[in-house]
C-alpha cells in the first residue's frame, strides 16, 4: 500500500468533489438543474479522462512490467490497482457521465436535481472503490456505499408512489443480500484466516473445507442479488420499472457492472481452485446460474408488454451471459465478459434513456405505444434499433463481438462448457423474438392516427401534430429532426445517438478494446484478483 502514489486516487477525489460541490451549491441556494448537472458532468468527465490517462500511463500491452508498488502483494492492504480495475473504473465513470448528461434534459426546475446529481456522484464513488479493492470486507463496504445511494435515488421523487414502493423493495432486498454477503465473508475469514482476495487463490491447508464452500456459496447468493441472477432477480424488474429512466440506466448499466466486478474479484481466482478440488459443485452452480438466468430472463421478457419491464428482463438475461464468462474463467472468457460489459453499458444505458426520451415525447409505457416511433423520432428510433440489434447479438455491433468472445471462450475451453455456449446461443436466438417485435412495432406499424388503428390525438409536445391530418405530406426532413431534438432535449438526444454510434464503431473495429482487455484479463488471472 505504501507504493501507491496519492495521485492515483485523483479520480475518486474528483467524484467525491462532485458530490460535495453539488450539495454545497444546493445549500447556497442554486436551483437550476443546469448548475448541478454542469458541476457533476464536468467533474465526472475529469475523473473519466484521468482514468483514461492512467490507462495510458500503464500501457496495457506491457503489463508484465507494471511497477510492483502499483500491483501490490497479496497482503499489501485493502487496495490494489489492476488494469482490469482501471478499465472498470473507466466503465463506471462512463455510465455516470452518460446518466448525468442524459438527464440534463429533464425538468429544469426539478427540486430533486441536487439530490440526483449528488447521489449519482456518491454511487459512482462506491463503484470506483469496488474496482480497486483487494480485500473482501473493503469490497463489500464499497458496494454498500454505492447501493445506499441508489436506494435513495430510486425513491427520491416523493410524489411517485411507484418509485417509493420500488425503493422500499430495493432497500429490503438489498439489506438482506448485504447480510448474506457479510455472513459469507465471516465464514471465509474463519476458513482462511484472512479476507485478502489474493489469498483465496491458494486453498487453505487441508483443502477447501465445508466452511469455505458455504462461505463462497453465500457470497454467490449475496452478490448474485447485485448482479440480478435468477433466482435473486425478483427485485430488479420492479425497481427498474419504478425508478425514473436515468436511474434505471444507472442501475442496469452501472450497479450491475459493479456486481460483475465483485464476482470477478471474488471468484476468478478461486475458480481454478474449484476446478482442482471439491469446489467443483460451486463451478457447476456458477454455470447453472448463468444458464438459468439467461433463460428465465429471456422467457420473461418475451411476455412483457411494458417497455421498461421488458428491458429489465432483457438486462437480467444479459447478466447470465456475463456470468458465463466468470464460470469459464479463461483469459478469453474474462476479456469477453468485459467486452460484453462495455457493450451492455452502451446498450442498456442508451435504451433506458430512449425510454425517458419517449416519455418526454408523450409515448406511454407499453410497447404498443412505440408504434411508428421510426417516423416520429427518427434518430432516436434508429439509435434504439441499433441498440436492440446489438442486444440481440447481431454482427457489426459491439454486442455481437462480446457474445462471440464469451461463447467462443466457452467452446475453446471445451468439455461441458460447450453446453454453456450452446445454451447461451440458443438464448440469444430466443431473444430475437422480443427485440424483433419492438423493431416491427417501431418501423412496420403505422403511427397512431395514420393507419387503420383507432385515431389517437398526438401529444401536443411533439410539435409535428399539426401535419397529421395532411395525407401523404410528411414535414421536411430538417423539420422533423428539429422537432425531435426540441422534444427530447439536445443532451439526451446526443447521448442516445452517441451510444448507438459507439456500439457500431466498436462493433466494426473492436481491436483496441480487445487488445487492452486481453492483456488486462491475463494480468488479472495471473495476479489472482
Amino acid at each position: 500500500m505504501t507504493g501507491i502514489p496519492p495521485m492515483a486516487y485523483l479520480p475518486e477525489g474528483f467524484v467525491l468533489a462532485s458530490t460535495l460541490l453539488v450539495f454545497l451549491a444546493d445549500a447556497l441556494g442554486a436551483q437550476r438543474r443546469r448548475v448541478f448537472g454542469g458541476i457533476s458532468t464536468l467533474l465526472l468527465l475529469g475523473a473519466f479522462l484521468l482514468v483514461l490517462a492512467d490507462l495510458r500511463v500503464y500501457p496495457l500491452a506491457a503489463l508484465a512490467t507494471l511497477p510492483a508498488s502499483l500491483v501490490g502483494g497479496p497482503a499489501s492492504g485493502p487496495i490494489v490497482f489492476t488494469s482490469l480495475g482501471l478499465i472498470f473504473q473507466g466503465l463506471f465513470l462512463g455510465v455516470a457521465l452518460l446518466v448525468a448528461l442524459g438527464s440534463l434534459s429533464e425538468g429544469e426546475l426539478d427540486p430533486g436535481a441536487a439530490i440526483f446529481y449528488g447521489l449519482l456522484g456518491l454511487a459512482t464513488l462506491g463503484m470506483l472503490l469496488v474496482a480497486i479493492s483487494a480485500d473482501l470486507i473493503f469490497l463489500l463496504l464499497s458496494i454498500e456505499v454505492s447501493t445506499l445511494s441508489t436506494y435513495v435515488l430510486v425513491g427520491y421523487v416523493r410524489r411517485d408512489s411507484r418509485g417509493l414502493e420500488a425503493s422500499m423493495k430495493f432497500y429490503i432486498i438489498g439489506a438482506l443480500s448485504t447480510a448474506i454477503s457479510f455472513f459469507g465473508a465471516s465464514l471465509l475469514y474463519g476458513a482462511y484466516g484472512t479476507t485478502s482476495l489474493a489469498a483465496f487463490a491458494f486453498p487453505p491447508a487441508g483443502g477447501l473445507g465445508n466452511l469455505a464452500l458455504v462461505g463462497f456459496g453465500l457470497l454467490m447468493v449475496g452478490l448474485g442479488f447485485k448482479l440480478t441472477l435468477v433466482p435473486f432477480h425478483m427485485w430488479a424488474v420492479d425497481v427498474y420499472d419504478g425508478a425514473s429512466p436515468p436511474v434505471s440506466a444507472l442501475l442496469s448499466a452501472g450497479s450491475k457492472k459493479m456486481g460483475l466486478f465483485a464476482f470477478f474479484a471474488v471468484f476468478i481466482a478461486v475458480v481454478h481452485v474449484f476446478n482442482a478440488t471439491e469446489g467443483y459443485a460451486l463451478l457447476v452452480a456458477l454455470g447453472g446460474l448463468a444458464v438459468v438466468t439467461m433463460t428465465v430472463g429471456n422467457l420473461q421478457a418475451l411476455q412483457q408488454h411494458n417497455m421498461k419491464r421488458l428491458l429489465a428482463y432483457s438486462s437480467i438475461s444479459q447478466a447470465g451471459y456475463l456470468l458465463l464468462g466468470i464460470a469459464v474463467a479463461t483469459p478469453a472468457a474474462l476479456s469477453g465478459a468485459t467486452l460484453l460489459a462495455v457493450a451492455h453499458v452502451l446498450m442498456k444505458g442508451g435504451a433506458f434513456l430512449v425510454v425517458g426520451a419517449a416519455t418526454a415525447a408523450g409515448v406511454g409505457v407499453t410497447i404498443e405505444e412505440y408504434r411508428g416511433l421510426g417516423r416520429r423520432l427518427p434518430v432516436t428510433a434508429l439509435s434504439f434499433a441499433i441498440l436492440l440489434l446489438s442486444l440481440a447479438g447481431i454482427p457489426l455491433t459491439l454486442g455481437f463481438v462480446g457474445k462471440f468472445y464469451v461463447f467462443g471462450a466457452a467452446v475453446e475451453a471445451g468439455g461441458w462448457f460447450i453446453f454453456l455456449a450452446v445454451a447461451g446461443l440458443l438464448n440469444s436466438a430466443l431473444s430475437v423474438f422480443y427485440y424483433g417485435r419492438i423493431l416491427r412495432i417501431m418501423y412496420m406499424a403505422d403511427a397512431p392516427g395514420e393507419g387503420p388503428e383507432p385515431t389517437r390525438e398526438a401529444p401536443p409536445t411533439l410539435g409535428i401534430s399539426s401535419t397529421r391530418g395532411v395525407a401523404n405530406a410528411p414535414p421536411p426532413r430538417g423539420g422533423v429532426l428539429r422537432a425531435e431534438i426540441r422534444t427530447i432535449g439536445v443532451a439526451r438526444w446526443g447521448v442516445i445517438l452517441g451510444c448507438a454510434v459507439l456500439t457500431i464503431a466498436f462493433g466494426i473495429y473492436p481491436t483496441p478494446l480487445i487488445h487492452a482487455f486481453n492483456a488486462a484479463a491475463e494480468q488479472f488471472l495471473r495476479l489472482g484478483y
Partner: protein
C-alpha cells in the same frame, strides 16, 4: 498490403447501400448508379481471375482484425479481414450483383419510402457479396447475419398482407439456424485445435489434425452444419419459412431471397461441412440423399397443388435446391460443378419468375392462377416472359437450367445408379405443373378483370429483358460461367468421394 478488387467491391456495395438509404426521393438514381458500379467491379474482377489457377483462392487480401485470446500457454488466434474468390464463389458474386441491379430497375416506380427500400436491397446484396468473398470464419458469419436484418425489414415493411408474421418467422428461423451453424464452426476450429479462422489454412491443416476430431464429434458437427445450412437452402423439413417469406416479401425481396440467399446455404455446405469433416460426411451422406430426394419430390408435388403463382414458384425453389443438395451430397467433381451451375441457373430463372409474379399482380390485381386466363392476348410481353421463365425452370435445352440439370442427373447416375429415377420422375411433375400453369394463364380463355390490364411497364420490361437475355445467353453458352468453377482449390485436391475421402 495490396488492396484486392474485392475490397473495392465491398466498399462500393456498402457505401452504395448507405448512400441510397439516406438519398430521399432521388434514391432510385443513386441505387442504380451504385448497383451498376457493383456490377462493373464484378466484371473487372472476372477479368482479373485466372482460369487455370487452382492452388488457392485468388485476389487475396488479408488484414489482421483482432486477436482471440487463447488458453494459457497457447498463442492467440488471429481473426482476420480476409477476402478472396475461387471458381465456386465467383459465379455467386456475379449472380448476386446482376440480380440486384435488375431488382432495382424492376422497382423503379417504388413510391413507398424509396430511399430505405433501395438502400436495404443494396445492403442485402452487400452482405451476400461479403458472404461469398470472405475467407475468415468470423467474417463469413458477420456478413451472413448482415444479410438477415435488411431482409427482415424488406419483408416486414414493404411486404404483403401477412408481412409481419412472415418477417418474424423468417428472422427467427434463419437466425436459429445461423446460431447452430456458428457454434458448430467454432467448435470445429477449437476442438480440432486448428488455431486459425482462415479458410486458406483450414484446408491445409485439416489433414494434420484428422485425429483431433473424433468420429462422433465429426458426425455431431456435420449434423449441426447440415441443419444450419439446410434451413437456408431450404431442405425439407426445415423449409416452412420459405413460402411465407417469399410470398409476403415485395418482388425485389423475393428475387433476392430466391436468387441469392438460398445459395448461401449450399455454398456453406460446399465450403465447410463437406470438405472439412470427412468422417461426418461419410456417415451422414445417406441422410443427405434422403433429404435431397424428399425436397425434390415434396417441392414438386406441393408446387402442383398451388393456386398462387408466387407460391408455386416458391415451392419449385425447394424442388430445385433439392437437386442442388443431391449434387453436393454426391461430392464428386461433376456433382459440385453441377451444383454450382444449378445454383447460378436457378438464381437467374427464379428472378425471372418472381418478377413475372409481381408483374402479374400489377396487371391483373391477383396472382391467383385459376382466375386469370388469356394472358397471351391481353399482355403478350408478360406472357412471353412467363413462358421463357417457366420453360427455363423445367429444364428446356438452350436455356440456362438445362446444362446444369443435365450435369446433376449425370452425376447422380454415376454416383447412385438407378436412384436417378427419383429426381427424374419429379422432373416430370415439375414439367407438368409449369405446363399446366402456362396453359391456364397464357392460353386459356380470357378470364378475370381484363379491363384495366396493362402490359409490362418499361422498368419491369427492362429488368425482365435483362434477366431473360442472361437466361438465354448462359443457356446457349454455359461455359461462360462453367469455365470458372473448376478454378478452385476444391477441384485441385483429391478430396472428393473416391479420392480417398481426405483433402490433403
Amino acid at each position: 498490403m495490396l488492396v484486392s478488387p474485392l475490397t473495392l467491391l465491398l466498399a462500393v456495395a456498402f457505401v452504395g447501400a448507405g448512400a441510397t438509404f439516406f438519398a430521399g426521393p432521388k434514391a432510385r438514381w443513386v441505387a442504380v448508379i451504385f448497383s451498376g458500379a457493383t456490377v462493373a467491379v464484378v466484371v473487372y474482377t472476372l477479368t482479373q481471375f485466372q482460369l487455370n489457377f487452382t492452388l488457392s483462392y485468388q485476389l487475396l487480401e488479408v488484414n489482421h482484425w483482432f486477436t482471440f485470446a487463447a488458453l494459457p500457454g497457447a498463442p492467440g488466434i488471429s481473426v482476420d479481414y480476409a477476402v478472396g474468390v475461387d471458381g465456386i464463389s465467383l459465379p455467386m458474386v456475379l449472380l448476386s450483383s446482376v440480380v440486384t441491379l435488375a431488382a432495382v430497375v424492376y422497382h423503379w416506380e417504388e413510391e413507398n419510402a424509396p430511399g430505405p427500400f433501395f438502400g436495404l436491397l443494396l445492403l442485402v446484396n452487400a452482405g451476400v457479396l461479403g458472404v461469398f468473398v470472405s475467407l475468415d470464419v468470423l467474417l463469413f458469419f458477420v456478413f451472413w447475419e448482415v444479410v438477415l436484418i435488411p431482409m427482415f425489414f424488406l419483408i416486414g415493411r414493404w411486404g404483403g398482407a401477412r408481412r409481419h408474421y412472415a418477417a418474424i418467422k423468417f428472422f427467427v428461423y434463419t437466425h436459429v439456424a445461423s446460431v447452430v451453424m456458428f457454434v458448430a464452426l467454432l467448435a470445429m476450429v477449437f476442438l480440432g485445435g486448428w488455431g486459425t479462422f482462415d479458410f486458406v489454412n483450414l484446408y491445409g491443416l485439416q489433414t494434420l489434425n484428422q485425429s483431433a476430431l473424433s468420429s462422433v464429434t465429426q458426425v455431431l458437427l456435420f449434423g449441426s452444419l447440415l441443419f444450419g445450412f439446410g434451413v437456408k437452402l431450404p431442405m425439407v423439413p426445415f423449409h416452412t419459412w420459405l413460402p411465407d417469406a417469399h410470398v409476403e416479401a415485395p418482388t425485389g425481396g423475393s428475387v433476392l431471397l430466391a436468387a441469392v440467399l438460398l445459395k448461401m446455404g449450399a455454398y456453406g455446405l460446399i465450403r465447410f461441412a463437406m470438405p472439412l469433416l470427412p468422417v461426418g460426411r461419410e456417415v451422414l451422406t445417406p441422410l443427405i440423399f434422403f433429404l435431397a430426394f424428399l425436397s425434390i419430390v415434396w417441392g414438386a408435388f406441393l408446387s402442383l397443388a398451388q393456386r398462387d403463382l408466387k407460391r408455386l414458384v416458391a415451392y419449385s425453389s425447394i424442388n430445385h435446391m433439392g437437386i442442388v443438395l443431391l449434387a453436393i451430397g454426391l461430392w464428386t467433381q461433376v456433382g459440385v460443378l453441377a451444383a454450382v451451375l444449378l445454383m447460378f441457373a436457378h438464381g437467374l430463372v427464379s428472378a425471372v419468375l418472381f418478377m413475372v409474379s409481381g408483374s402479374m399482380h400489377h396487371a391483373y390485381g391477383t396472382r391467383d392462377i385459376p382466375s386469370v386466363g388469356g394472358m397471351s392476348a391481353y399482355t403478350p410481353r408478360l406472357s412471353t416472359m412467363l413462358m421463357v421463365g417457366s420453360l427455363a425452370s423445367l429444364g428446356l435445352p438452350a436455356l440456362v437450367s438445362f446444362p446444369a440439370e443435365f450435369s446433376a442427373f449425370f452425376a447422380t447416375w454415376e454416383g447412385l445408379g438407378l436412384l436417378v429415377l427419383i429426381p427424374l420422375t419429379a422432373l416430370v411433375v415439375t414439367a407438368a405443373f409449369y405446363l399446366w400453369m402456362m396453359q391456364r394463364l397464357s392460353f386459356g380463355p380470357p378470364r378475370g378483370s381484363t379491363l384495366k390490364t396493362h402490359d409490362l411497364p418499361t422498368p419491369e420490361l427492362v429488368a425482365l429483358s435483362l434477366m431473360v437475355a442472361l437466361v438465354v445467353l448462359y443457356g446457349i453458352l454455359p461455359f461462360l460461367v462453367a469455365q470458372y468453377i473448376p478454378a478452385s482449390p476444391l477441384f485441385h485436391i483429391p478430396c472428393f468421394s473416391g479420392g480417398g475421402g481426405v483433402c490433403p
